[in-house]
């Protein structure tokens, strides 16, 4: 019977470890080859503190958690700025360096020999020194760890993680400071792994560097992948199956002499076959059934006819540009690449509720100007002002806070997330996106979720996609994805919207629908819009005023009809003789 408890204990300990790696692999989308090290940090902290300082095991566990979280954050900072392959190199290096340290820093870790005699866990005189006694403690610790992981995954914070995994730039464009999210997840992941490690130290009462080798890191990876990445139950599934089969191997006659090698062969083969035949693992991320989206009352009655295409063809009358202050002003932005001047001293003004166009021939610099103004490229000079406040050089996620958001020419919806989540993730100032407040203010988080839920559904109704709210965004047609992107943009509540070729690759009906929607947004939602477009029919039909660029300079501004009557501009656009 003790043996069964032992197996259960191993499964739960590994499940905690695997869940912690799943946070990185499944939700950030990063393969870490050094995860065993974090549990090692927890184990050594537990051992040293309980042996040398004599504190209760919970103290050692807490110290291990914090220490490991800090190391995780430090590892994340450089790693996340580089390409995927570098990350493998870094995490392998991390694993090897720390392993080498564990072997050589004999003063602290006692090197190869390891640390024996770790006292068992103890609370109020109860000593958890047998498998039977340790199991309940472990179950409780496991439940706590899983509860924490679950809270993080199924929360606004977790939603942002998924968005980052799907498309990091698009997430930044919605106002998310993606680096801080990733670093926090690494920290949490390291901390949870340390908890598993400290529990192991107190259970087995002996640790050595060889419990935290790269083979162990690989083993954890196999379990994550087997159970199913980005699925909450995946780690438990993976741990149970792999531990179960591993232990079952012991019963094969004559196995004890080659059990280690057999295990490694087994892990390796499972990993290989999984990657070939079922890379997503046993449990998929989303259940096949569509998520049922319940609509709050009153939603349908109010703006039920919003999506009907009454063709609002006439462009809204001229606003008195003279009496109003521009809501966005670009002054003298410039950019050079090497010797090439891409943008030279460009200035423009956007007035509230106007739709303004930015047009010009290929290579005229409008994309560069566009990207500089919305924070995705640095400028060499010049300034950008929103409502009179200087926002030059701010990162995109900060610009969103200032009221400026952009869409993408290639749409970039979060394909692996539902349509509803795509819009909800864009909602501003979500308390639940703060990892600490998520746990300290559950009431506020829940209330905001309800409010954001309603707001998201309203925006989906506006663009006419309410019935698809529960579907995965990736399963929608291109035209529908563009509508999702517009709803997502509206959900940021930013008054200034930059649209990058919103009508590209659309059939005639969808094109009309999008044009109509943009007009409606400007009028009814009072948005100020800057539009980069190449289809001059769209420009003629939508914008009040356009800026014409060529070779990095803004040559002219005015109503489209006026611009197109100018022979000099025609020469620029159609080519000089």
């Amino acid at each position: 019977m003790d043996y069964v408890y032992h197996i259960l204990i191993l499964v739960i300990m590994y499940a905690i470890l695997v869940q912690s790696l799943n946070l990185i692999m499944g939700y950030v989308g990063v393969i870490s080859m050094g995860h065993a090290v974090f549990s090692g940090i927890g184990a050594y902290s537990a051992a040293l503190i309980s042996i040398h300082l004599g504190y209760n095991f919970l103290v050692g566990m807490a110290v291990g958690f914090v220490f490991s979280a800090i190391v995780g954050a430090l590892l994340a900072l450089p790693s996340l700025r580089v390409r995927d392959e570098y990350l493998i190199v870094f995490t392998v290096g991390f694993q090897m360096v720390v392993f080498e340290f564990m072997l050589t820093a004999r003063g602290i870790t006692q090197g190869q020999a390891g640390i024996p005699g770790i006292p068992p866990a103890e609370i109020w005189g109860i000593s958890f020194d047998t498998p039977l006694r340790f199991l309940p403690l472990l179950v409780i610790m496991g439940l706590i760890c899983f509860a924490v992981a679950r809270r993080v995954i199924y929360s606004p914070f977790g939603r942002v993680l998924k968005a980052i995994r799907e498309d990091e730039s698009a997430s930044r464009a919605l106002g998310k400071n993606t680096l801080s999210f990733k670093v926090l997840v690494f920290a949490l992941s390291g901390g949870l792994a340390a908890v598993a490690g400290s529990l192991m130290a107190h259970y087995i009462s002996f640790i050595s560097p060889f419990s935290f080798t790269i083979e162990v890191s690989v083993f954890i990876i196999v379990m994550v992948v087997l159970g199913g990445e980005a699925n909450f139950w995946g780690p438990i599934m993976g741990a149970a199956i792999l531990m179960g089969i591993t232990e079952a191997l012991r019963f094969v006659p004559g196995a004890s002499s080659y059990i280690d090698a057999a295990r490694e062969i087994f892990y390796g083969l499972i990993l290989m076959f999984l990657m070939i035949f079922r890379p997503q693992g046993i449990l998929p991320e989303h259940s096949k059934r569509l998520r049922r989206v319940s609509l709050p009352e009153g939603l349908l009655s109010k703006e039920g006819a919003a999506a009907s295409p009454e063709r609002v063809r006439d462009v809204p009358g001229p606003s008195d540009g003279e009496n109003q202050e521009p809501i966005l002003e670009i002054q003298g932005l410039s950019k050079s690449f090497g010797g090439l001047r891409a943008v030279a001293d460009a200035s423009l003004k956007l007035y509230p509720r106007d739709i303004t166009g930015l047009i010009g021939p290929n290579g005229c610099g409008k994309t560069t100007l566009f990207n500089m103004a919305n924070g995705f490229m640095d400028s060499d000079g010049g300034a950008v002002y929103v409502r009179g406040k200087a926002v030059t050089g701010l990162a995109p996620y900060k610009l969103v806070t200032q009221g400026l958001a952009r869409s993408w020419q290639d749409v970039r919806v979060f394909k692996g997330m539902t349509v509803l989540d795509n819009v909800m993730v864009a909602r501003p100032s979500q308390t639940g996106e703060n990892l600490f407040l998520l746990f300290s203010h559950p009431g506020r988080v829940a209330r905001e979720e309800r409010e954001n839920y309603r707001a998201a559904l309203e925006y989906l109704q506006l663009v006419g996609l309410l019935d698809k709210a529960g579907q995965l965004a990736g399963s929608l047609s291109n035209a529908e994805q563009k509508l999702v992107a517009i709803a997502r943009l509206l959900a940021t509540e930013c008054p200034i919207l930059f649209l990058d070729e919103p009508t590209a690759a659309l059939d005639i009906d969808s094109l009309e629908r999008v044009i109509h929607l943009i007009q409606e947004i400007a009028v009814r939602k009072e948005k100020t819009i800057l539009l980069v477009e190449h289809n001059l029919d769209v420009v003629r039909g939508l914008v009040k005023k356009a800026y014409f660029m060529s070779e990095g300079k803004i040559l002219a501004e005015g109503e489209p009809a006026k611009l197109m009557a100018d022979p000099k501009l025609a020469e620029v656009y159609f080519g000089i003789d």
């Binding site: 392959e85 290096g93 360096v97 080498e100 990876i221 490694e264 892990y267 290989m272 076959f273 890379p279």
Partner: protein, 288 residues
């Protein structure tokens, strides 16, 4: 003098890492696959050499060619049967990496199972200790330096001057364009795996000459090889060689300051610092 000995030691290690670097580098640069199973090729080649000389009593030169053949056979098989299949399925880079990891894990364990962890040595090589002043080295060391540097030189020459070498470089530069020009990408990849695996087999042979064959022998040389590639710059094979050389020298010269067990820390420390300053690597350029 201790320093002179360490310098010679450094030269030996540096030559070895330079060779290791280019073997993985040519594969990575051309195919952009994180070929984790490269370590297995090393181990298989080493064991082939050791076992053929000890169990079958073959002459070491014959064993050399056999281990070379084994390395090429294994490397090409992995590409032809595993990586190619994954390519055709449109697998992501992460998926390919993980399957390579799985194969390497299983393969190393199979070797452990078949041959146990007792090291095997290579018999029949005329091992003599030579000296130059106060400095001592063996014939195996001479072979290591000479053959490694020669191999690196020949590879660089092949890539630069020969027709097929240019094709390989072209595929590494713009595989899409190469495909549209009618080049058989799968065949080029196979050739690249043959070259990379074969040369790593040579390195393994030289390693086994000096040391012994054991199941995990490929791990550390493999780590140094990809460290050298990222340190030197992905698209410069010369960079891989240079970086490997630097890592080898640094490891031994570092022993003057630090006690001998910090090899990995030195290597990764150098990599970390260089990547921080110049992310493309020493001789690398930003990929267009």
């Amino acid at each position: 003098m201790l320093t002179a000995q360490l310098l010679i030691q450094g030269l030996i290690t540096a030559s070895f890492y330079a060779l290791a670097g280019v073997t993985w580098g040519i594969i990575y640069r051309t195919t952009l696959t994180f070929h984790f199973s490269h370590q297995l090729v090393f181990t298989v080649a080493g064991y082939t050499a050791a076992l053929l000389t000890t169990e079958l009593g073959l002459h070491f030169l014959l064993a050399f060619f056999c281990s070379l053949a084994a390395a090429i056979a294994l490397g090409c098989s992995i590409d032809a049967f595993l990586y190619r299949k994954l390519r055709e399925m449109g697998a992501t880079k992460a998926t390919t990496f993980l399957s390579s990891l799985g194969f390497a894990t299983a393969g190393t364990a199979i070797i452990l199972l078949l041959f146990s962890s007792n090291p095997r040595s290579l018999k029949g090589f005329p091992a003599k200790t030579l000296s130059l002043g106060d400095v001592f080295f063996t014939t195996a060391d001479v072979a290591m330096v000479a053959i490694s540097l020669l191999s690196v030189g020949l590879l660089l020459l092949f890539l630069r001057k020969s027709r097929y070498g240019k094709v390989i470089r072209a595929v590494g530069s713009n595989s899409e364009m190469a495909r549209n020009l009618g080049l058989d990408i799968n065949k080029v990849y196979l050739v690249v795996y043959a070259i990379g695996s074969g040369l790593f087999g040579v390195a393994a042979f030289l390693f086994t000459l000096k040391n012994v064959a054991y199941p995990t022998m490929g791990i550390f040389p493999f780590f140094m090889s990809f460290t050298a590639v990222f340190l030197g710059g992905i698209n410069s094979i010369a960079g891989h060689a240079l970086a490997g050389f630097i890592l080898g020298m640094a490891e031994n010269i570092g022993m003057i300051i630090l006690p001998g067990e910090y090899k990995i820390m030195i290597a990764y420390g150098i990599l970390f610092i260089v990547i921080l300053i110049k992310p493309e690597g020493l001789l690398g350029s930003k990929r267009g």
